[in-house]
Structures are given as structure tokens and as C-alpha cells.
């Protein structure tokens, strides 16, 4: 054992054996003195003198003891323990102060942890896949036609898989899956489930290993292979109670017996990565031969080879994609794709970076306000304790020791705040992680992890230093004599300290200003988004996915559809009913449309257009506005008539300045007569342009992809759900219990990220204004207390209550005005930084700024009024007597 290690070990041991060691030392001292006294007596001194002499030679007993402790133990730790126990004692005495301080800190630190965890999961942490930086998403370079231009045909995918040299593997999934596209048939009512068709190698590309069983084998992607299914973890838990024997068993999906071959791991959440907020229950093989004629439907994901950069892979893709044919069987359809490679992580969360950073800054501001507030509280306490500190200085305490003492206090407060805050954030985060309705990617994976804990420690320590240092320095910086001389309630004393506190309050108000303006601007944007004319009436409409067997016979389908529509229309309270395969703001697909003129239609004449296969009455049920022409009729369906309803965007593009009704368009490869024009419907979200749209009758030439029955009624959808389901089951007894979804929910889903941010920033702004008002109240109330005597004298000399009140309020307003002024300057700068997050709202939006000024002014008035009232109620006699 080396010397220093031995000494350190012994010192540590001594630190924990303080009591026995002190006792032994005392015994040693006693024996020392006894021996000394004895010797002195032996030398002939009288007993009294002998004792005095021995004590004098020994020196200070307490000092010797201290020295002993210092050289045997851990003196720094000793001091720390002393500081800590002193801090606990004073904090326990000031219980009110402690509770307020810890609560404020907990709010500040807690909100920071929560937001950090969200930012960490969505932005900072890599995706939950092995070597996730190698994963890329491949989409067309100019995806202007929704999902269809972000996908590739089976043939193109296969060609790219074979020709590329940059990727370890490329795979994908079928991108046009609607929710509840399967029904699981068991003993009870069929259960609607959502299944994704995964192409060969999809899970291998992502490096996802099954938690039970195995992944798909190559032969299971062959035409007519025995059907198999992989279960998602939550579905396995929910539907099969986590039964480990499920692997190898057959389940009934859509009346087909399908063998369960495995269960995917809990960590794999398809929805949170590829389709924010969607729940996916199971996966089946995407068999390429079944989809060769179906156009673009595969969303591609690739894993680049080790050492291949994204730029290299992109260069290769730029050469390969333009050479890919759409379909091998139909070379006349042509060739020529584009492919942009984006790192999967960037693709998933890149768009959110700015919003999240703004959110992060907003909580940072909250923490700053919290620190300023705490600083202020501590200064007020310091003022009350200034005598104590002056006394300790007079008794020989060093300045550093006093600063350390007060820093210890702030560290203890910050630590307590962090612990409570951690609890708060844990609650918030577990709430957020279960919000499927918020369309933010990866949200379900938000956890308080090690990094978040590290962040907690970091912000708690910086907060402690930030709010503890200033009061600490002030406290120890007392001019001894002056402080000790100062009597209880001075009049002009402590001006300097007041000035510091006022400055802090001004800073607090300014910071709150910035938060309020930010929140105001985001709120205005959000309201503007809600105000957008969607082109349909979301409220009052609800949709349910319907199930039927039509044997792929169009006229049979038309009859079934008509039965669904007419029977549902008879339910009391129902105003309109219609069917469409796709609903706005959910999934979409696109074809091409062109105007048929004298010349032969060329491939370049086509514009991409969202396509909906609908029944008569759908437009009415959705509340879409037919501007010209007529709706689709049942005869159109039965007679396989090629008719089309287009939206205004299409009409404008194909027949600019002319009437489109009666013209012939080439739509979906067929000539079709334009029978109606509707107002543009926002397809993807309220914030994006409508795009081109067309509505076709379900006929031989135009087949739907699924069917949603849309019901419009004044009744709440909860009251309607049961009768609608009864009607559906009358027609088809095995109709699964699919959800009767309000159309408004679809719209809300697309606005949910904005709502999420507005809500959070708004909460922070509210917190900021609360803290700022606390700060104002604290300072004003304190200054009133200090000036009790002065006010008393002034009132004795004839000042009216009103005058005293006005004086205090004026002082408050002065503070508020300076703060607001500074805040406006800062807000203008900040507003410009978040301009790209605003929707139809200028960064200088007068409403946001005016609202902020009014709100802060009112709060400041209130915070000043309470102390002002108290001041005006001061009785001169009482005030003068409280010396």
C-alpha cells in the first residue's frame, strides 16, 4: 500500500469514527495534563499553580482538538457536513420559503427535463436500430403527388436492389395500408387489426430481431406461398395475453388461416418511426408478384454498406433511378424515376428540429426566470439575515466561508427541486408517451434515460450557481459597521440592495415578455390554421371502415354500396351518407389526369392527381362544395359510366379560363367526362395546398382500395355508433367492430404537432408570467414593509390613502414598463428567429405584442395593488411605534 493511499484510507476511516477518536483524544489530553501537574508538584509548585502552569503549557485545548481532527480526517468534508447541517436547520426554520423555493425550482427543472427527454428522443438520440446512421429512406426528388410519389413499383424496387452497389440491402413496405385493414376472426365478433405488408428483407435491413420465433423466409415471399404473419409486441400482449405458444399456431385473418411465425421485440414500434401515431398490430409478407400491376406502392428503406457515404450512394442512385422501368410487362409505360436518399433519422424528425429547438429555448427561458426569481427570494432573505452574517464576519468568519455557506444552501435547494422536478417530468413524460393522438414521431419512445439524468444534474448545478452566487456575494459583502448600526426598519437604508432586486425583476419581466410573445405568435398561427377553409365540413361527419364480400364484381359492389348507403340513411338523425375508399387527411394515392384535346395525349400532359373512388352522396356527407355540375349517380356505377368530378385546381390547370363541365379528361388511363367541379379540399393538412384531386365512381374500370362509410348527422357520434354498427351487421354479420371515427379527429391529428407546441410554449409562458408576478409582488411588498415608518410619517403629515396607494402602484408600473420595454426589443429579435414556424402570422403581429403588454401590465398592476393596499392601511401611530 503506497503512502498516500494508506493515508487517504486512514483519513477516510477516521472521518467515520469521529466520536471514538475524539473520546480517545480527550483521554490522552487528560492523562497529559495529569502527568504534567504531577511533575510540576514534584518540582515544588503548589497544587493550584501546578495546574495553571500545565494548562498554560498545553495551550488551547479546543485548538489542539481541531488541529488533531484536521490532520487525521477529511477537513473539507467536515466543513461541508457542517454547512449542510446548518443549511438543513435554517431551511427547516423557514419552512414557507423552502417550500416555495423548491416548488418553483421543481417546475423549472421538471419542465426542462421533460422537454429535454422529448428533444433527446426525437432529435439527439439515434433511431432504435443497430448502426442506425446507415439507414436511409429513398423517395422521389420532387414528391408532389403525396404518398404515390414517395413510393416505387415492385419491378423498379427489384431492379434497384439488383443493380446497386452502395447498399447492404434495400427493402420496403406497402405504403397504402389504411387502419383496420384486416379482421381477426375468433370466437367473438371479428376484431379489426392493422397489418403492414413488409417486403423481403425489411426487418433484416432495419436489423430487427424477433423476440419470439423467426422472421419471414425467402420462400414465404413467393406467389401462393402458405400465408404467415409476424405479430407486433403490444398486439401480442393485448390480443394473445403474451402467450409464448402462439408461435406456430394458425389464426384467422380475413377468413384465411395464417400461421404466426414470430413476435417482434417490444423496442420495435413501426408507427412511431414510419407513420407517427399509428398503431400497427401485425406484419405479413409483401409478395411482389401480387403487386406487379399496381403502380407505385413500396416505401423504400436501405442500409448503406460500411464505408459508403451518403453522397456516394446518392451519386449511384442518380445514375440508376432514371433507368428503372415502371413495369417490366409494360415497357410502353416508360422509365425514369428519381431517388433522393435521406438519412432515416433526418427523414423522420428533420422537419421538427426547428420547433423542438424553439421549445428547448422556451424551457431554458423558464429556467432563467426561475433562477432570477430564486435569486430575488434569496436576496430578500439575505436582507433579513444581514445582521447574522455581519455578526459572523465580526467573529472571524472568512468571506469565502460565508459565500460557500450560501452556495451550499442553493445547492441543497436545487437538489431538492431537481428531485421533485424529476418526479414531475416522469409523470408528464409517461403521459406524453401514451398520447397516440399526437402525430409526433418517436413520441412513444420518450423516456427519462441516463442522458436526461445527466442533463438534470447539469441544469440543477448551473441553476444553483446562477441563483446562489449573487445573493451569496451580496450577503458577505456587508460593510460591517453600517449593517450592525442599521436599525430594524430603515427608511433610506438598503437602497443598493433594492436596486439589485429591482433589476432582477425587470429581467424577469423581460424574459416573460419574450415567452408571452412567442406563445402569442404560435397561438395566433394555430388559430389561423384552424380557420383555414378545408373544403369540407369536418364537424358532424364520422366515418367507419366497412367490410363486405363483392367477389371483385363491380356491379355486385355497386349493389352492396347502395344498400349500405340507403339503409344507413334511414337511421334517425342521419342527414347524408356516402362511401369513399380514401378520406382526406388520412392515406392517399395518386394517378394522372390530362385534358383530351385534338392531339394525342402525351405522357408530359399528365398532372399527378389524388384519386378517390366514391359513391353518390359522398360529397354531401363530407360537406364538400359542388361548384358546378352534378354529383355521381347510382346509374353511373351500374352502367360503368366513365365520369369524373374534379376540383378547382385541376379545372384551372387543364382548362384555364374555360368551363370544364362536359369536357373529356384522361383519368386513370380511361377517357372520362367531367360532370362536376368541387371546391379544393385540403388533402394532407390545413397548412399545405390542396393539390389536384378527382373523384370517380366505383366501376369496372375504377376499383376502390377499401371503403369508408361517411355519415353526416347532428347527433353526437357516440349516439350514432350503435345504430350504424347494427345496420352494417344486418348487411354483413361479420362486419368487424371497427371504430366509428369522427372526421374532426383526422383533422386534429394533422394539427396535433402544432397544438402540442402551442400548448407547451403557452404553459411555459403562463409559468413565466406567474413567476414574474411573484417577483414583482415580492419586491414591492418587501419595499413597503421596509418603508412602513416612512409611509406612517407621510400619512401623519397629511398624505391621503389614495396618494400612498398611487405611489406604490406607480413604482410597480415603472418596473413593469422598463421590463416590458426591454422585453419588446428582445421579442422582436426572437420573433424573427421563429418566423418559419408561423402560419399566416407576421413576426411583428400586433395582436401578440399588444396582448402581451396588456397581460403583463394587468398582472403587474395586480401584483402591485396588494402591497399598495396594505401600505395605505398603515396607521401612522402604529407605524411609528414599530421601531
Amino acid at each position: 500500500m503506497s503512502l498516500s493511499v494508506r493515508e487517504a484510507f486512514n483519513r477516510m476511516r477516521s472521518f467515520f469514527r469521529k466520536h471514538p477518536l475524539d473520546q480517545e483524544l480527550d483521554e490522552e489530553f487528560a492523562s497529559h495534563l495529569e502527568i504534567a501537574v504531577e511533575e510540576n508538584i514534584a518540582r515544588g509548585l503548589p497544587a493550584e499553580e501546578a495546574r495553571r502552569h500545565a494548562l498554560a503549557r498545553f495551550g488551547g485545548v479546543q485548538q489542539a482538538r481541531e488541529k488533531h481532527r484536521e490532520s487525521r480526517g477529511l477537513p473539507l468534508l467536515d466543513v461541508l457536513m457542517q454547512d449542510l447541517s446548518f443549511t438543513f436547520r435554517t431551511l427547516r426554520r423557514d419552512r414557507g420559503f423552502t417550500i416555495v423555493a423548491v416548488l418553483i425550482l421543481a417546475l423549472g427543472i421538471g419542465s426542462n427535463i421533460a422537454v429535454f427527454s422529448v428533444v433527446n428522443t426525437i432529435l439527439l438520440r439515434p433511431l432504435p436500430f443497430r448502426d442506425s446512421q446507415q439507414l436511409v429512406r429513398i423517395v422521389e426528388k420532387n414528391p408532389e403527388a403525396g404518398e404515390s410519389s414517395k413510393t416505387y413499383t415492385a419491378d423498379a424496387t427489384q431492379d434497384f436492389q439488383q443493380q446497386n452497389h452502395s447498399f447492404q440491402s434495400v427493402s420496403g413496405y406497402f405504403a397504402f395500408t389504411g387502419p383496420d385493414n384486416f379482421k381477426l376472426i375468433g370466437h367473438d365478433q371479428p376484431v379489426p387489426v392493422t397489418g403492414i405488408l413488409a417486403a423481403e428483407g425489411f426487418f433484416q435491413t432495419l436489423a430487427v430481431e424477433p423476440s419470439l420465433g423467426r422472421l419471414f423466409k425467402a420462400e414465404e415471399f413467393a406467389h401462393h406461398a402458405p400465408p404467415v404473419v409476424l405479430l407486433a409486441y403490444p398486439f401480442w400482449k393485448r390480443q394473445f395475453d403474451g402467450d409464448r405458444n402462439i408461435v406456430g399456431r394458425a389464426i384467422d385473418l380475413n377468413n384465411t388461416s395464417v400461421t404466426v411465425i414470430g413476435v417482434l421485440p417490444e423496442t420495435f414500434d413501426f408507427g412511431s418511426v414510419f407513420s407517427a401515431g399509428a398503431k400497427v398490430d401485425l406484419f405479413t409478407p409483401y409478395i411482389m408478384d401480387d403487386f406487379r400491376d399496381d403502380g407505385n406502392d413500396l416505401a423504400l428503406v436501405g442500409r448503406v454498406k460500411q464505408g459508403v457515404t451518403l453522397a456516394q450512394a446518392q451519386r449511384e442512385a442518380d445514375q440508376l433511378f432514371p433507368q428503372l422501368y415502371f413495369e417490366h410487362h409494360h415497357p410502353e409505360y416508360g422509365k425514369g424515376y428519381t431517388g433522393r436518399l435521406t438519412e432515416l433519422k433526418e427523414y423522420v424528425s428533420g422537419k421538427l428540429r426547428r420547433s423542438l429547438i424553439v421549445l428547448w429555448c422556451a424551457v431554458g427561458l423558464i429556467l432563467l426566470i426561475v433562477c432570477v426569481n430564486l435569486s430575488n427570494l434569496l436576496l430578500a432573505r439575505a436582507a433579513a439575515r444581514s445582521k447574522e452574517f455581519a455578526m459572523r464576519t465580526a467573529l472571524g468568519a472568512r468571506r469565502w466561508r460565508l459565500v460557500r455557506q450560501s452556495l451550499t444552501e442553493s445547492f441543497v435547494l436545487a437538489a431538492a427541486g431537481a428531485v421533485v422536478g424529476l418526479g414531475l417530468s416522469y409523470l408528464v413524460i409517461s403521459y406524453l408517451a401514451h398520447q397516440g393522438s399526437i402525430a409526433l414521431p418517436l413520441l412513444s419512445m420518450v423516456r427519462v434515460d441516463g442522458r436526461a439524468l445527466g442533463w438534470t444534474v447539469l441544469i440543477a448545478v448551473s441553476a444553483a450557481v446562477l441563483f446562489g452566487l449573487l445573493p451569496g456575494l451580496r450577503m458577505s459583502d456587508g460593510n460591517l459597521q453600517e449593517v450592525l448600526k442599521e436599525s430594524g426598519h430603515g427608511t433610506s437604508s438598503g437602497r443598493n440592495r433594492d436596486r439589485i432586486r429591482s433589476t432582477l425583476v425587470v429581467a424577469e419581466i423581460a424574459l416573460a415578455c419574450v415567452l408571452l410573445v412567442g406563445a402569442g405568435l404560435l397561438l395566433r398561427s394555430f388559430l389561423r390554421v384552424l380557420d383555414v377553409d378545408l373544403g369540407f365540413e369536418a364537424s358532424g361527419a364520422a366515418a367507419i371502415s366497412i367490410d363486405y364480400g363483392d367477389d371483385r364484381n363491380p356491379s355486385k359492389r355497386a349493389a352492396i354500396w347502395q344498400e349500405f348507403v340507403s339503409r344507413s340513411s334511414m337511421i334517425p338523425g342521419v342527414e347524408a351518407v356516402g362511401i369513399s375508399d380514401n378520406l382526406p387527411m388520412s392515406r392517399n394515392r395518386s394517378w394522372g389526369i390530362a385534358a383530351k384535346g385534338q392531339q394525342k395525349v402525351d405522357a408530359r400532359d399528365f398532372i399527378p392527381v389524388y384519386v378517390y373512388i366514391v359513391s353518390p352522396g359522398y360529397l354531401t356527407a363530407m360537406g364538400m362544395r359542388l361548384m358546378e355540375g352534378r354529383d355521381i349517380r347510382w346509374e353511373d356505377l351500374y352502367n360503368n359510366r366513365s365520369v369524373v368530378i374534379i376540383n378547382e385546381t385541376v379545372a384551372r390547370k387543364l382548362w384555364p379560363g374555360q368551363n370544364a363541365i362536359g369536357r373529356t379528361a384522361v383519368a386513370g388511363g380511361q377517357d372520362a367526362e367531367v360532370i362536376g367541379v368541387i371546391a379544393d379540399v385540403r388533402e394532407s393538412s390545413a397548412e399545405e395546398n390542396a393539390g389536384a384531386q378527382m373523384y370517380l365512381p366505383s366501376t369496372k374500370q375504377f376499383g376502390p382500395t377499401g371503403a369508408n362509410l361517411v355519415v353526416r348527422s347532428k347527433l353526437p357520434s357516440s349516439a350514432l355508433a350503435a345504430p350504424v354498427m347494427r345496420t352494417l351487421r344486418q348487411i354483413n354479420p361479420v362486419q368487424p367492430a371497427t371504430e366509428f371515427k369522427q372526421i374532426q379527429a383526422l383533422v386534429d391529428h394533422t394539427t396535433s404537432p402544432r397544438r402540442f407546441f402551442v400548448l407547451l410554449v403557452g404553459t411555459f409562458a403562463g409559468l413565466g408570467i406567474l413567476l414574474a408576478s411573484l417577483g414583482i409582488y415580492g419586491v414591492i411588498s418587501y419595499s413597503v414593509t421596509r418603508q412602513t415608518q416612512e409611509i406612517g410619517i407621510r400619512m401623519a403629515l397629511g398624505a391621503t390613502e389614495r396618494r400612498v396607494q398611487l405611489g406604490v402602484i406607480w413604482k410597480t408600473l415603472q418596473l413593469a414598463l422598463i421590463g416590458i420595454m426591454v422585453g419588446i426589443f428582445a421579442s422582436v429579435v426572437v420573433a424573427r428567429l421563429i418566423a418559419s414556424l408561423l402560419f399566416r402570422t407576421a413576426p411583428t403581429d400586433p395582436f401578440a405584442f399588444a396582448g402581451m403588454v396588456i397581460l403583463l401590465g394587468a398582472v403587474a398592476l395586480l401584483a402591485g395593488y396588494l402591497p399598495a393596499r396594505r401600505a395605505s392601511k398603515i396607521h401612522p401611530l402604529v407605524a411609528l411605534r414599530t421601531q
Binding site: 483521554e27 490522552e28 489530553f29 497529559h32 498545553f58 488541529k67
Partner: protein
């Protein structure tokens, strides 16, 4: 400045204690303090109590060992004695102090001659 002076004093006291224990054999605290006073002809102003800080330090470094025993006058006292490590340390310290004092002597002698000229 004050700190470094304290260090030197501490170090000095430790060497004195080691040397006295080496020469005199096991002693209790009071005897060690008295011996220092006698040897230095009371030139070292020593609060006897401070010797215990030095004793505990030397003990923790393993250079001396302490054991409770009985004095000549039948009093209970803690007796300190050298350990092997302490003896080695003392050899080192002695060499160090001899070198230091000879260097100091040379330096100071040179300076005083310079003053005369």
C-alpha cells in the same frame, strides 16, 4: 506565505518527534513534548497540545504506532513507538535536513560576507 511557513513547521515537528522516539524508545505525548522543549533549550515555542496533531499524522502514515500503557508513576498513558517504516522515513528525513541546512548555511554565510564588503 503563511501557509508555507506552517508546512515547514509541521514538517519540522514531525522529524523531531521521529528522532526523539528513535533515540529514546517508546514515550507518551507529554514526555515527547517535554523532550522537544529540553533539547531545543525552550527555543521552540510549542503549545504542547499541538504535538497530538503531529502524532496522529505520523500514525496514519504508519511511521509510528501508539498503544495504551502505564507510566512510571502508574498513570494510564498512550505510548508511541517507531515502526520499521518510520525508521526508514527518519533516515530519509535526516539526509534531507542535513542537505538543506548545509545549503542554507552556505547561502547565508555568502550573503553575510557580501554585506561586510
Amino acid at each position: 506565505m503563511g501557509d508555507s511557513k506552517l508546512d515547514l513547521l509541521q514538517g519540522t515537528l514531525d522529524v523531531m518527534v521521529l528522532q526523539i522516539l528513535e533515540v529514546m524508545g517508546p514515550l507518551h505525548g507529554y514526555a515527547i513534548a517535554r523532550r522537544i522543549e529540553q533539547v531545543s533549550s525552550n527555543e521552540v515555542l510549542l503549545n504542547q497540545g499541538t504535538i497530538y496533531a503531529s502524532l496522529v499524522r505520523l500514525q496514519q502514515r504508519g511511521w509510528i504506532a501508539g498503544r495504551w500503557g502505564t507510566s512510571d508513576n502508574n498513570r494510564k498513558a498512550k505510548f508511541y513507538s517507531m515502526t520499521r517504516a518510520g525508521q526508514k522515513q527518519l533516515v530519509k528525513e535526516t539526509a534531507y535536513w542535513q542537505r538543506l541546512s548545509s545549503v542554507m548555511g552556505r547561502v547565508l554565510f555568502m550573503q553575510s560576507r557580501g554585506d561586510e564588503e
